[in-house]
Amino acid sequence: MKYSRLILANLFRKKIRLALTLGSFAVALFLFAFLGVVKDAFNRGMDVAGADRLVIINRTSIINPIPLSYRDKILRIPGVTYVTHNNWFGGVYQDEKNFFPQFVIDPENQRQVYPELIVPEDQWNAFLKDRQGAIAGAETAERFHWKIGDRIPIKTTLYGGGSWEFNLDGIYHGARAQDDETQFWFQWDYFEERVPDRDKGRTGWYVLRVKSVDDSVRVAKTIDDEFANSPFETRTQTESAFQASWAKQTGNISFLILAIGTVVFLTLLLVTGNTMAISVRERIGELGVLKAIGFSDLTVLFFVLGESLVIALGGAALGLGLAVFTVPVLSKALNGLLPRLILDRSVLVTGLVTAILVGLISGLLPGISAMRMRVVNALRRV
């Protein structure tokens, strides 16, 4: 790149302008990354979902229970490998603001159905032996500074009410970054023992794994047919469809975020395009001189494009780099309000590509006019 020194020298001529243009690029890219992260957080459920997992809920309403007696019938259906049943506990730890989901779990098959949520073997064994045992996700444990062995009281108004006490026997970690590490699990036996009679023998939902993903539609239908016309009809869906139905109900949030992103990018395009136009306009005389001493039209276009690309890449690196550093801080600060924020590589790549495109487009217009300009006119202007 024999012209790179000339491009750099031109860039650094107006240092304030360079800083401001880089800055607005960086801000826009930071915002882009941030919006992408938030959008991902809203749709998180879907990419956590296991392809071979099905969720069975009560057909009437997700808040209605299903009998525990269904478990053996489900297991007998060909194609089903593991079944676990979970129940929503809906308790409060110290204060309503400290929300995290608590599930009553069936310890026998929970780990087979959710192999990506990893509990160390010794902790799991301690949990199995402890009637009041509990396992917490790493994120929740860190949030409340829990250590293994802590006694954790959780108040509830459901299931007979009162304060339930648990011993923290283990902490699980997700195998992948997007796995939910906020859940709190405890023993089905302890639950069954304390709830009033009318809640005994019932669960909130079943989660099962099928032998082959291609088979899941048939298995789902067989299950729903099996329990059709019973007092507790079921609705069986793949886990991702189940999660998607929740995510869809947060409504137009994704659309709003995309709309904002578009507004931001149009604004950004205008700002950079304008800056490039100004700097070309100011240098019309110089570009005329360059052409007069024999630089080709294309080389002149290359100078202008090169400048805007350097700005675009520099701004993108700054903004995306800032996002990489601040997203973990923001995630901590917004804990409890939003699911964990994770900066996905695809957001970074999209951001970079978009930055290059914006750089090219905003350099192209003034670049082409510089290329077409007649030397005589350029030199005649002041």
Partner: protein
Amino acid sequence: MGAKLFFGFLVTLLAVIVLVSIAGIIAGLLAPLIGNVPVSYNFRSIRARWTSTIVAVLGIAGTVGVFVAMLSLAHGFKATLVASGSPGNALLLRAGSPSEMMGGVTLDSVKIVQDAPGIARDGAGPLITQEVVGVIPFPLITTGTDANVQVRGVSPNVLRIRTFVKMEQGRMFQPGLSELVIGKNAAKTYAGLKLGDDVAFGGGNWKVVGVFDAGGSAFDSEVWCDSKILNDVLKRPDNIFQSVTVHLTSPADFQQFKDAIVADPRLNLDVTREIDYYAKQSTVMTTLITVLGGMVAAVMAIGAVFGALNTMYSAVAERGREIATMRALGFSSWNVILSFLFEALLISFVGGVLGCLAVLPLNGLTTSTMNFQTFSNLAFAFKITLDLLLMGVLFALIMGILGGMFPAIRAARLPVAQALRDL
């Protein structure tokens, strides 16, 4: 800890910026009044550099638009839930229950509550509705996928308790029959919930006999029916309800009613004003939208200020000779600063007004989201109020001052002789 420090720092920084900006705005607005560079000079110079001015205006307009839209969304969500409560009503839940979904009030308790002092009565008896809520999936008209609708079993006299709810089409359900009345937003949002439709859910067959208008409150997203039938269909015990709402003889009687309920040893119920209950329900979502919207607008504002700074700096650079001429003619550096501030304010004011105008059509536009307190879908409208618009314009002016102040100072400090000699 680190996060707290970070936010404390941000808040301090913001406070300083706002204070400086307000001083700048006042100074800039006063500029035409104090003997100064004529205002027509600013208008002409804007016209001379209209392309970069338009870019600055659009940058500010975009930022203000996003800012106002986000705030109006939060505002609309809150207004929808707050409108659901009446000051003259009291809501009773089982003690400690954070929401209706988790409530449980027995029929025995309802009978005791009926006789408490402060409850309004009409010819048919006390104005009290014992309610059951269920969450039933219905397909959305737009996507065909299911969304959860809150189905509320109510007493037949509910319209005398929630007096703002009016039947828009058809009639109220008959007690004891499987009939539904639909909130007007629910009727528009879900397939198969029109007047006269037959609906099957929960093992029962229902007929839609009416559509009601609940004045833009959360009830507009709900489906109502007889609570006895709903308990039956949802296979719940018929003597347990999830909440009880009473109409008081007057809002002032609330304390007397509450004292009577709390003092009764047979009851274990929490009493809140209905309006307070719904205001509290809205806090999580409102905070979420405000925090997210605030962060997006703040980051965008930085971008817009950079844009404005660029425009004003290049204006100063291009007009170096003009400025020096003015100084040579006897205008003081203060006059030059004020003149530039005024120009920046003018640009940002136009941007702010444009941004507000651009989002104004959103007012009243209905969107929906999940209400995490009830696990059901809630329709609500963007609500743009005058004070939001004023905030938007003020926000624009602050950006204008931040973008104009440093270039103005630089303009004033240009050495006169050297600037005149250049070129």
